[in-house]
């Protein structure tokens, strides 16, 4: 565990009460959810402090490697090169990735193929997908983003090349924004844009299109109708402390998963 000085804060705990600090760190997409979970957990376990850090998925891995966090939060799968430092991973929730366009856009639905062509730069004009005659402005997330990873993988924007290497073919002409909020802001204010954001953060400043006729929602993701989704992971580098174990137990419990749903994400139960 990272920190345990939390043990002597607060009033003297009952003899059987577990005390300590649990640190989670990593993806900022997971962070809001972690906050909710932590708050709920701490309400019931006054002896344990759960500290929620952001930093990004990469930082999450690094944090467990360096043992400054108990859990690394990832909004993407564990990469091959990271596998070595991860001893255990928990899927704590699922998140749909909504494809969004500028509210003024007339396009309602896109197929996965269309999305792929748009993002690889093959389709450059909205009229090719049934929209107005205007160039498509592609908005993407940065290299390494969990959202981007899930999105490109599912839409086949990324895939193995002939040499068998994983290649991300996202067009070089995409605007890149570093966060969900920035993508939404961009898509909301810039005409002719298309982007993708975490379902949990979706708001009506942008218009979510249906993918292959399915609108993104918890239900459609859960049912598998909506194709573009990714898991939220907690990964662990070594042995879990007692407090950490209690926390992960809580997260995976029904109580915890209820909170996941409340927060707009999809329960793994």
């Amino acid at each position: 565990g990272a920190k345990d000085q939390g043990a002597d804060t607060g009033e003297t705990p009952p003899a059987e009460q577990v005390t300590g600090t649990v640190v989670t760190a990593g993806s900022t997409s997971v962070q809001p959810l972690s906050e909710e979970l932590a708050a709920a957990f701490m309400d019931g376990n006054s002896g344990i402090t759960v500290e929620v850090q952001g930093g990004g998925s990469g930082q999450g891995i690094k944090a467990i490697q360096e043992k400054i966090a108990d859990f690394g939060a990832l909004s993407r799968g564990v990469k091959d090169e990271e596998k070595a430092s991860v001893t255990k991973e928990f899927v704590i929730a699922k998140d749909g990735v909504a494809v969004v366009v500028n509210p003024e856009s007339t396009v309602q639905d896109l197929s996965i193929e269309q999305i792929k062509k748009i993002y690889t730069g093959e389709i450059k004009n909205w009229k090719e997908v049934g929209g107005e005659d205007a160039p498509i402005v592609v908005v993407s997330r940065e290299e390494g983003s969990g959202t981007r990873g899930a999105f490109t993988e599912i839409t086949k924007v990324a895939g193995k090349n002939e040499a068998g290497e994983e290649v991300d073919n996202t067009t070089k002409d995409a605007l890149v924004q570093g966060s969900t909020g920035a993508v939404m802001q961009t898509v909301a204010t810039t005409p002719h844009t298309i982007g993708y954001v975490s379902l949990g953060s979706l708001s009506d400043t942008v218009k979510a299109v249906t993918v292959e006729g399915v609108a993104p929602s918890s239900e459609t993701v859960l049912s598998g109708e909506y194709k573009i989704s990714r898991p939220f992971l907690y990964v662990v580098g070594g042995e879990l402390s007692e407090a950490a174990q209690m926390y992960i137990d809580f997260v995976l419990s029904a109580e915890g998963q209820a909170i996941v749903e409340e927060s707009g994400f999809i329960s793994v139960l």
Binding site: K3, Q5, A25, T28, Q31, E51, V52, Q53, G181
Partner: protein
């Protein structure tokens, strides 16, 4: 005579263009200032209220206030400044009063200049790699404070040095010729003359520290908890603002936080001006 008149006409036209251009550019500068600050304040002030100031953030800041963030900001900034100030002043004293020239000092000075130019993101990377991990301090107020301290050090050194340099040589001579030692001279005569300069440096440093995002995010972490010691992780207003904006959590809170941040910077600047005006009367530069 005719030539004279021509010359005069040319000069008049030139004058008009010249002053026109300067006026326009100055107006543009002022306008951008007013627009930016005005925009933020107008959008944000309405959302600043008692609750916002006294409640902790809830749901990642979507709801609630920013109390813990304010405290976090204060702590991180204070730690940074408290560490940097004595070191910065001492270093400046070394450069102006003790160093005897030569390659070594030139190098030290050069590196100090370099430090000033290093982008904050690199400080962040360094702070994370060094304080957070290597020194095992974890994400904490202390890690952030130390990183900020290094960051504002050149600012402080430079400001202090500049004001040390404005202390007339004659004060030093005056003191030494009375039989004072070098250190006595520095403490009793030179430093008191530099108070406004050092203060200015301090304010600049505080400004830089408060406004810093990248370096702080990587070293202090992003915990929304109310920190109880310097070993706790917390979040500063700038980081909070960044997260709010980046994750698009709540426009309202984003504006409110930005407005508050600007307000605080404003407050610091004004009070610094007031203080330095007051100290100014005692300043040696005036003769």
């Amino acid at each position: 005579m005719k030539q004279q008149k021509e010359l005069k006409n040319i000069k008049n036209t030139k004058n008009v263009i010249f002053y026109g251009l300067i006026g326009v550019l100055a107006a543009v500068t002022l306008a951008s200032l007013i627009i930016i600050i005005g925009y933020i304040l107008v959008n944000g002030m309405t959302h600043i209220n008692f609750e916002f100031l006294t409640q902790d953030p809830k749901r990642m800041g979507k709801e609630g206030g920013i109390f813990s963030v304010i405290i976090g900001t204060l702590m991180v900034t204070s730690v940074g400044i408290l560490i940097a100030t004595p070191i910065g002043i001492a270093a400046a004293i070394y450069f102006t009063e003790y160093s005897k020239g030569g390659k070594g000092v030139y190098l030290i000075r050069f590196f100090t200049e370099i430090l000033a130019g290093i982008p904050s993101i690199i400080f962040g990377l360094f702070g994370f790699a060094f304080f957070v991990i290597f020194m095992g301090m974890g994400w904490s107020v202390l890690s952030g404070g130390l990183t900020l301290a290094i960051m504002v050090l050149p600012t402080l050194i430079r400001a202090t040095e500049e004001s040390l340099k404005t202390v007339p040589m004659s004060y030093r001579e005056g003191s030494l010729s009375l039989g004072a030692t070098k250190w006595q001279t520095i403490v009793r005569v030179i430093l008191p003359c530099c108070r406004p300069g050092i203060l200015t440096g301090l304010i600049l440093g505080i400004g830089r520290a408060i406004g810093e995002t990248a370096a702080v995010m990587l070293t202090v972490g992003g915990s929304l908890r109310l920190p109880t010691s310097v070993f706790d992780s917390t979040r500063t207003m700038a980081v909070h603002l960044y997260v709010l904006a980046a994750e698009g959590l709540s426009m309202e809170k984003t504006y409110a936080t930005a407005a508050l941040l600007i307000f605080i910077v404003l407050l610091i600047n004004t009070s610094a001006n007031l203080i330095s005006n007051k100290l100014g009367g005692n300043n040696g530069n005036e003769i």
